[in-house]
Amino acid sequence: MLKIHSVETMGALDGPGLRIIFFLQGCPLRCLYCHNPDTWQLEKGTIFPDEEIVGKALRYKPYFKNNGGVTFSGGEPLLQAQELVGILKTLKDNGLHTAIDTSGYFNISDTIMVELLQYTDLVILDIKHENAELYKQITGHSIDKYLHLKEILINKAQSKIWLKHVVVPGLTDNPQHIKDLEKEVRTFPLERVEKFELLPYHTLGKSKYEALGINYSLSDTPEMSIEDIYKLKKLIKLDCLI
């Protein structure tokens, strides 16, 4: 069983093709720009038994062309990694493409993590920052978990990889950082990295903070303009950059 925040049956951005996305409840990180603060608390959410999750996913099989399938996002899906392993395996047994959308934060043994990745066709990994200090400043957590997952993903798994990074004005938009980020991306096996994406920060999450009564520290930060993202992209020479 999994604790689920919500289900989106028509995802077209979080993995290839059309996807059913399970947004899992609970996340240990407190990213300054998080637009889903309603997924933070593990105590909330709805419990879905494994069979229901698999059954729901299979309902959409007729739509899954071009590697479409199932994505577990969040929240941080690996917070429920132990439970995810069996579900991912069943989905693979049923011929579905699987993906997880993660920051890298997991707290299960390496062996189980390796097994989980065996059943995961695609890992969408959010590089919060390449610099340990800034990683901590943005997420409130150490970079270690990310580095650990990265090591396993590179050395003990075959999953395809999509990398992403959120560009926030005044926080993660300086050109030197973008160049360093490129270096970080280059430490991954590029033949497995299908995509690297710079996501512009948007303010659509703001109202959720107000509703939840949580202080939003970026309340004065403007949205990232597409033009500025375009300029930053020019600094990067990677084929996988989209």
Binding site: V7, M10, L18, H35, K65
Partner: protein, 741 residues
């Protein structure tokens, strides 16, 4: 044997009228992509710029011009041209473009209403004479209606019935004129008449009179073409002639009748045979071929009928439903997609996006991938295409069917439909609660029903009372339809369109429902939450809902099956009452834009919808209640049964923002195509596809001049957004846009 047939493969079609056989023996399936398509010719550029100016002027004036020289008819008007030098396909309804005909046969009051509303200058004697010597369909109907029907009609229980205007929904097999020439068609009809033996019963006498009218109509079509110095008595020899002859057939239909929906049929692959022939002979280039199609489509885009503002409120945007079906598969497994299927859709590029003709792609899992991708691409660019399930319809109607209006399938030239608009299920549900009394004015519509008196609604009690109301609605509805179509055959017979049918035709009587999702949700609310009627003077005028309930549109079987339960019961009740002329009862879930008007006339419903608020269009889930994303919503609708229950179609309108179906254009094309594959694979019947931004629509609301051509697909057809009423515009915008962060 005609000289014009010498290049064609022979078959049964050469001896008896069988257009399908001709197509099957002679067409070339096309599996390639869109790279062969040509842009518009110089002549088309010139012609279209004139037409665009006229359309702009029409938009300002409401009605551009009206023909007051005579009443409508196949051959009553002089020849008309837009720009003779640059036109290659000839023929207008009247002697000038956008000139509306006065057609009082369906209902003279509609004509008088239009003249008054638009302050048109019409000579007095024209309608006076008509009133003096003739009777219209509408008058006949009201002679036969009883009080119960009149009350149900006034209350909005049954609405939009074709009792005051032309019924439409008849598709002439216009291909017969180019293939056979008019003389051959007349000859066959004469043979039929002389082959009929005694006894001449009432029905036989009627058939004899109708076939004679058809023969007369064919003669008039011929003389109408003659006004343009074109002889259509013999088969067409060239591609240009084929399109021209075919168009004259269609034109005769819209000169004679002003039906709500006047489909074109399934012409593109038929035409393609002639184009292929001319291209292979070296007498036609691709640019010429596209020019023919572009100019044909320009003609279709300027078909007009005289309507009242009230009619527009129901069916906004001056629609004609000139529906052309494209693609699909043949029974032998070959695709019916031809190069001309592409050329037809390509007019949306050459002549900008447009609601008419109503392009309807027959989707099959087995359609060529290139064609699927081209359609998806064009949908994303223009929001002007609708899709219907060919695999489901081919099983029921073969591989030479057309679509009347939005979703109604029928075998071309062999079947016709008695159009029946729809009844308001939301209101019927309230009658179940209020004992047959209308919630708005307290008028008693159905006698002998007990209102529900319990403090909270109970599922079983509500369902059993709802069934009783449906029984009564069905009886009233069938009898009303029988009157309407008896009178329509009598006073406004479509002789031109019926002339392009076999003499003995199959008939459907097409019933419809509106408000299905409201009723499903009401039952789910009663089952899962507590629903308390708020009564005023003994009538439930509002409902207090405590607790949540799962709504239609979230792919929850337990909820979605309520829909089938209701539809199956209702069609069963309709079938209990014999339909006029032995027609087969069919049912559709379709509203067009009337979901707004039906909502306006209906009190608060137990699902939480407030009085006067719009219904969802067609079979769509209610706005904002499908919270699990678009595919869950599609799955719910796909569960409604087509075959044997809703054989007249189930309409679903799907509106999505471009970013939600993919980041890059090629992803969007792939994903939209996958959406269609998935939906139709699960037997979904119809899908209107809009790819639009909400912000753009809001902007178009405030600045209509910025978007003169913005089409949007609403239940079963497309309409220019700025031709919708303000209310309809807001309805479209507030409706579920599938967008995801």
């Amino acid at each position: 044997m005609f000289e014009q047939w010498k290049d064609f493969k022979k078959g049964i079609w050469t001896d008896k009228i069988d257009v399908r056989d001709f197509i099957q023996k002679n067409y070339t399936p096309y599996l390639g992509d869109d790279s062969f398509l040509a842009s518009k010719s110089e002549r088309t550029v010139k012609l279209f710029s004139i037409v665009e100016k006229l359309l702009l002027e029409e938009q300002k004036k409401g009605i551009y011009d009206i023909d007051t020289s005579s009443l409508s008819g196949i051959d009553n008007a002089e020849a008309g041209y837009i720009d003779k030098e640059n036109e290659i396909i000839f023929g207008l309804q009247s002697d000038g473009p956008l000139k509306r005909l006065i057609n009082p046969y369906g209902g003279i009051r509609m004509v008088e209403g239009a003249i008054e509303s638009y302050k048109l200058d019409v000579p007095d004697n024209l309608l006076k004479e008509f009133r003096k010597y003739r009777k219209s369909h509408n008058e006949g109907v009201f002679d036969a209606y009883n009080d119960e029907i009149k009350k149900a009609r006034a209350a909005g229980l049954v609405t939009g019935l074709p009792d005051a205007y032309g019924r439409g929904r008849i598709i002439g097999d216009y291909r017969r004129i180019p293939l056979y020439g008019v003389d051959f068609l007349i000859k066959k009809k004469i043979e039929f008449l002389s082959g009929m033996a005694f006894p001449f019963t009432e029905e036989i006498i009627r058939i004899r009179e109708e076939v004679s009218e058809q023969i007369a109509a064919l003669g008039k079509i011929k003389s109408m073409a003659q006004r343009y110095q074109i002889d259509i008595s013999q088969p067409a020899g060239s591609a240009r002639d084929a399109i021209q002859f075919l168009y004259f057939g269609y034109l005769a239909g819209v000169k004679e009748s002003n039906g709500a929906a006047m489909s074109l049929g399934r012409t593109s692959t038929f035409i393609d045979i002639y184009i292929q022939k001319d291209i292979s002979k070296g007498i036609l280039t691709e640019i010429d071929a596209q020019e023919l199609i572009d100019q044909f489509v320009i003609k279709l885009r300027i078909i007009r009928h005289l309507r009242t503002p009230e009619y527009d409120e129901l069916f906004a945007g001056d629609p004609n439903w000139i529906t052309e079906v494209l693609g699909g598969m043949g029974e032998d497994g070959r695709t019916l997609v031809s190069k001309t299927s592409y050329r037809f859709i390509h007019t949306l590029t050459n002549l900008s996006a447009s609601p008419e003709p109503n392009m309807t792609v027959l989707w099959s899992e087995n359609l060529p991938d290139n064609f699927k991708r081209y359609c998806a691409k064009m949908s994303i660019e223009t929001s002007s295409i609708q899709y219907e399930n060919d695999d489901v319809m081919r099983a029921a109607y073969g591989d030479d069917y057309g679509i009347a209006c939005c979703i109604s399938a029928m075998r071309l030239g062999k079947e016709m439909q008695f159009f029946g608009a729809r009844c308001n299920l939301g209101k019927a549900l309230l009658y179940a609660i209020n004992g047959g009394v209308d919630e708005n004015d307290g008028e008693l519509i159905f006698e002998g029903l007990e209102p529900i008196k319990a403090e909270y609604l109970d599922y079983d009690e509500l369902m059993s009372k709802f069934r009783v109301v449906m029984e009564k609605v069905a009886e009233l509805y069938v009898n009303t339809m029988n009157i309407i179509h008896f009178m329509h055959d009598k006073y406004a017979y479509e002789s031109a369109q019926m002339a392009l049918h076999d003499e003995i035709v199959g008939r459907y009587m097409a019933f419809g429902v509106a408000g299905l999702s409201i009723v499903i949700d009401s039952f789910s609310a009663v089952r899962h939450a507590r629903v308390k009627p708020i009564r005023k003077n003994g009538l439930a005028v509002d409902f207090e809902i405590t607790g949540d309930y799962p709504a239609f549109g979230n792919d929850i079987d337990e909820v979605d099956t309520i829909g089938n339960e209701i539809l199956e019961f209702f069609i069963g009740q309709l079938r209990k009452h014999p339909a006029y002329r032995g027609a087969k009862h069919t049912l559709s879930v379709l509203t067009i834009t009337s979901n707004v008007v039906y909502g306006k006339k209906t009190g608060s419903t137990p699902d939480g919808r407030k009085a006067g608020m719009p219904f969802a269009p067609g079979a769509n889930p209610m706005h904002g209640r499908d919270t699990n994303g678009a595919l869950a919503s599609l799955n719910s609708v796909s569960k409604l049964k087509y075959e044997g229950v809703c054989d007249d179609g189930i309409s679903n309108t799907f509106t999505i923002v471009p970013n939600a179906i993919g980041k890059l254009p090629r992803h969007r094309v792939d994903n939209l195509s996958s959406i269609m594959d998935g939906y139709f694979n699960q037997k979904g019947h119809h899908l209107n596809v809009n790819v639009l931004n909400r912000e753009m629509l809001l902007d178009a609301c405030d600045n209509p001049d910025k978007y003169p051509n913005l089409p949007i697909r609403v239940s079963g057809y497309a309409v220019k957004f700025n031709k919708l009423t303000k209310e309809q515009q807001m309805d479209v915008i507030s409706r579920t846009f599938h967008e995801k962060m």
